[in-house]
């Protein structure tokens, strides 16, 4: 940590060389992946995809047999549909990102497929689940749209570094997306959280897209400013303290997070963005002091908001005593959700009740969105939960691995940002559902019901695949992207 060597940075030297031209002999850098020897692994991906499609189809059959004692009618269609979508995605990866990581697409497909099955199963609970509208069809449609988005990224995003040129535009877009929901009235059933933009019956959750767009901004901004942030610092008590003016951006982001929290009641998004920024700042500068600052500021912010905003206080109280809502006189604003989720998990036990045989509809209307993990926990048990966490862990680690392998600093920062955003989101959602931390109200990537979430996460995976493709591609240097206003030089 103490020694910072600029020459260690492969991306920087890579760009310099790339301006010279075409195929250059690559030097072996200190990344863990050696591109020259890496086979492209597309067949591995195909084999894994087969499982990723087959498993949800079997789960689908399982639900049908458990609830109706017969195979569901739509089983073949569902299997073929998912299979076709996955196959198209795979073929396009073969064509446009042949050296991409082989694990990410199958994991995303599997989680998405399982999510659809669980949503379908809860649709079948009918009136038991209050406010239950059939959602599996929609989720399937959104999954198709998500994969279409994935394909679009595959085909049209020739090089992830193109995005670097939109650093400041991204900032503006992200800010608009984040601020927009505050101007739309919250519905009664949103429980005060203003995280949707609604036009008629159509609604999107801009926070999910802002996650990616903001990562573009962070990566672009930090790539430019990281030297200033890292080197122009004073040493104080063994820590490198940044100069006052370099503190500016982190304070701005901090304030922004607090504003989201205060005006949109959205604890999760606020935590996600601030955490994401601190992580990326740390990676860009290698300064532990940023982590310290980040922690201090988030604790300070949390205390500040918790002591003033009632809805945050309610959430913390609900976390400390989830069963208080069941008392004859529940505290104001109390919700049974966390208690119901814990009872669902506990009733599931180690092996679970089996798909279609649990009663997670007791969690009420959020059983297939924010609390879908509670539904999985009851029906698949601890065993299934561990498998799901391992899948997320793998997906995140493959993303971070991509960051390590990436050859340019923008790609590294971008990949770290996307992967850790997913890690933070998974932690915040699953932590809330299992009672580890206060509930924040975000969706579980891929599993949970919600179009915005599915589309955004498919795009996220597509970008990671593109970065990993360019990182693992042997010999050929990626086309430079920062060549001037005319776009990438060909």
């Amino acid at each position: 940590m103490s020694s910072y060597d600029l020459s260690e940075d492969t991306g920087r030297s890579g760009r310099r060389r790339a301006t010279a031209g075409r195929v250059v002999p690559r030097r072996r850098d200190n990344t863990t992946i050696s591109p020259q020897e890496a086979p492209n692994r597309r067949n591995t991906e195909l084999a894994l995809l087969l499982f990723a499609v087959l498993l949800p189809v079997l789960a689908y059959a399982n639900v049908g047999l458990a609830m109706d004692s017969k195979l569901p009618a739509g089983m073949l269609g569902y299997g073929l549909g998912m299979g076709a979508l996955a196959l198209v995605a795979h073929l396009l990866v073969r064509r446009f990102a042949p050296y991409a990581d082989p694990l990410m697409l199958p994991i995303a497909t599997l989680l998405n497929g399982l999510g659809v099955v669980m949503i379908w199963r809860l649709d079948k609970a009918g009136k038991l689940l209050s406010g239950n509208f059939p959602a599996a069809q929609n989720q399937l449609m959104w999954s198709g749209l998500g994969i279409a988005g994935f394909i679009a990224v595959m085909v049209f995003l020739k090089d992830h570094r193109v995005l670097q040129r939109y650093t400041y535009i991204s900032m503006v877009v992200a800010l608009v997306l984040l601020a927009a929901p505050a101007f739309f009235p919250a519905r009664a059933e949103d429980f005060g959280a203003k995280i949707w933009i609604r036009v008629g019956s159509f609604s999107i959750q801009p926070g999910e897209f802002a996650k990616i767009i903001l990562t573009v901004f962070f990566a672009g901004y930090l790539m430019v400013k990281r030297d200033a942030l890292a080197l122009a610092s004073r040493r104080f008590m063994g820590l490198y303290l940044p100069r006052g003016r370099d503190l500016g951006p982190i304070v701005v982001i901090w304030l922004l997070s607090l504003l989201i929290l205060i005006f949109e009641n959205d604890l999760g998004t606020s935590f996600l963005f601030f955490g994401l920024f601190v992580v990326m700042l740390y990676v860009a500068t290698e300064r532990t002091s940023w982590i310290l600052f980040g922690l201090l500021m988030s604790v300070g912010g949390a205390v500040l908001v918790a002591s003033t905003a009632s809805h945050v206080k309610i959430r913390i109280n609900a976390w400390l005593d989830p069963m208080a809502a069941f008392a004859p006189k529940p505290p104001p604003g109390a919700t049974e959700q966390i208690g119901q989720s814990l009872m669902a998990l506990g009733s599931g036990g180690v092996t679970g009740s089996g798909l279609g045989q649990g009663r997670s509809w007791l969690i009420n209307f959020a059983a297939k969105s924010d609390f879908i993990l509670g539904s999985f926990g009851e029906e698949l048990g601890l065993t299934g939960m561990m498998a799901i966490f391992l899948l997320y862990g793998l997906l995140i680690q493959r993303g971070l691995r991509t960051a390590i392998a990436a050859r340019d600093p923008f790609g590294k920062l971008f990949a770290v940002g996307l992967a850790s955003a997913m890690a933070l989101q998974v932690f915040v959602v699953a932590g809330g559902v299992t009672g580890l931390i206060p509930l924040t109200g975000m969706t579980m990537p891929f599993l949970a019901q919600g179009g915005s979430s599915v589309v955004a996460n498919w795009a996220l995976v597509a970008i990671l695949l593109k970065i990993s493709d360019s990182a693992r591609r042997p010999g050929v240097e990626p086309t430079p992207a920062t060549e001037g206003p005319g776009g990438p030089a060909r």
Binding site: Y282, G348, V350, R359, F389, L400, V426
Partner: protein, 484 residues
């Protein structure tokens, strides 16, 4: 930048690990307590997810488990003839659980540990889970006779097999159909609320849970105490009963029911035939509180009796004064008895003094009809010597042959009984309770002991007497039990 990225990966792994540890804690360590939390409705739904076992009388189930295939509840409890069987079965509903349905819930729902092996076997062989059955001692014919005989009178009737203690019938009126509130819909809630609001208290199991002043039927206990303590040698021994009899330590004259009764210095038998208050009040006073209490307790007074449903405690009080004991000895004042208790008095007399522990459950068995437990008969107490029992039988037969209990006579069957007309209320202002307790012995060695109480039997208090209201009911029950 790779070093911080590696650290970030470790951090992300720690986040996932934290989730895994937490989930292991919730689903592994804490699982049981969340699964059985009182707010976890899954337990309730589970109970109705498979057919509940039945309560059996005379080989036939009196309960049913209807497949209703509701969204939450798959099965619902119903009864073959709810009002008649309600005191026997009790009920286990969302509102309250009482009686056998509550006490035998483990067997009926199939969750009893003794069913664990069979349940596991069923699970492995793919058999659907079913609860076990509870076989009662009730004789459906006797139960029906008692129910029909009670008609729309308010009260209770209990019949016991004196030789074993098996309860043959247990009826309480007015009654209710527990099936009317065993569901989970609005109709059930309404039915439950209506039953609770009913001033006639239909939910009360009067046979076990209500205590009444036993009135003159308690004179059986007093006479037993007199013989057991050697006060008289035979039923024709004369008592020393003054006329009028002034309650000891007071100036109050104790009256007999009708002025023409010849109670002055009557024999024990004629005192019993005429149900002389003065005769037995004086015997009680002469014996004293301690001897009377000792005898009453041998019959089961002053303790709860679990059959296994718990009956209310019948009371022979610890009276402060001798005049109180005198009145207690004729079943007035503070003496209280359940119908079950008075049936036990007759049963002990009928069974030559040996009082058998009354019981309602003969067998518990699994869904595959294997017996899990079977009742073994046991003596509750030796309530009196066989010779005293013989004298008491003579007295009771005489009551039916010559005295107040003529309405209970059954041709060709030896019947012994005792009437009671118990005053109650402030200054005895309430309509009296009509009592009759009796036993009958058939020619084939069969026997039965019965107690019947009728509340508010008539608007007119002169129309109320144990002989007129309660004895015919007891007669019908005895006839059914002996097949006459």
């Amino acid at each position: 930048m790779n070093k911080p990225i590696r650290r970030v990966s470790i951090f992300c792994l720690v986040l996932i690990l934290a989730l895994m540890v937490r989930t292991n804690w919730v689903q592994g360590v804490q699982a049981e307590s969340w699964a059985t939390d009182k707010n976890n409705k899954r337990q309730l739904y589970d109970r109705y997810a498979h057919p509940r076992g039945n309560i059996i009388a005379s080989g036939q189930p009196v309960t049913k488990s209807d497949f209703v295939n509701g969204l939450r509840f798959k099965y619902q409890r119903s009864w073959v003839d709810g009002p008649m069987w309600a005191p026997v079965t009790g009920y286990a509903t969302q509102f309250q659980s009482v009686g056998l349905e509550a006490l035998e819930d483990g067997i009926l729902s199939g969750s009893d540990d003794r069913l664990f092996f069979r349940n596991t076997l069923d699970m492995l062989t793919g058999e659907p889970k079913r609860g076990g059955d509870v076989v009662t001692t009730i004789n459906a014919k006797v139960q029906k006779a008692a129910w029909d005989a009670m008609g729309n009178k308010k009260g209770a009737a209990v019949a016991i097999d004196p030789k074993t203690g098996a309860i043959l019938a247990m009826v309480s009126t007015p009654s209710f159909d527990p099936g009317s509130f065993s569901g989970f819909d609005g109709a059930s809630t309404k039915a439950w609320n209506d039953l609770n609001a009913d001033p006639n208290k239909p939910l009360l199991n009067r046979a076990l849970k209500e205590t009444y002043p036993p009135g003159s039927t308690f004179k059986l206990v007093t006479a037993t105490a007199a013989f057991e303590n050697g006060m008289f040698q035979g039923v024709d021994d004369a008592t020393t009963t003054p006329e009028p009899y002034i309650l000891p330590g007071t100036t109050t004259q104790l009256k007999n029911e009708s002025p023409d009764e010849r109670c002055e210095n009557a024999t024990v038998k004629s005192g019993m035939d005429q149900s002389c208050n003065t005769v037995f009040a004086k015997i009680g006073a002469d014996l004293g509180k301690e001897k009377m209490r000792a005898q009453a307790e041998k019959f089961g007074f002053n303790s709860t009796i679990d059959i296994p449903v718990r009956s209310e405690k019948s009371v022979f009080p610890d009276s402060k004064s001798l005049d109180g004991t005198a009145q207690d000895s004729i079943g007035q004042h503070d003496t209280r008895a359940t119908p079950l208790q008075m049936a036990m008095v007759s049963a002990a007399i009928c069974n030559n003094g040996s009082l058998m522990q009354p019981y309602l459950v003969d067998q518990e068995r699994s869904a595959s009809l294997t017996t899990i437990s079977k009742h073994t008969e046991k003596q509750f107490s030796q309530a009196m010597s066989p010779s005293t029992a013989q004298k008491m039988q003579d007295l009771m037969v005489s009551v039916v042959e010559n005295g107040t209990g003529k309405t209970a006579r059954i041709p060709g069957v030896q019947v012994g009984g005792k009437t009671g007309t118990a005053q109650h209320g402030e200054d005895n202002a309430g309509l009296p309770f009509a009592w009759f307790t009796s036993w009958a012995k058939g020619a084939d060695g069969q026997s039965v002991a019965v107690a019947v109480v009728v509340e508010d039997g008539s608007q007119n208090r002169d129309g109320i007497s144990g002989g007129r209201l309660a004895a015919p009911i007891a007669k019908a029950v005895m006839q059914a039990a002996l097949g006459k």
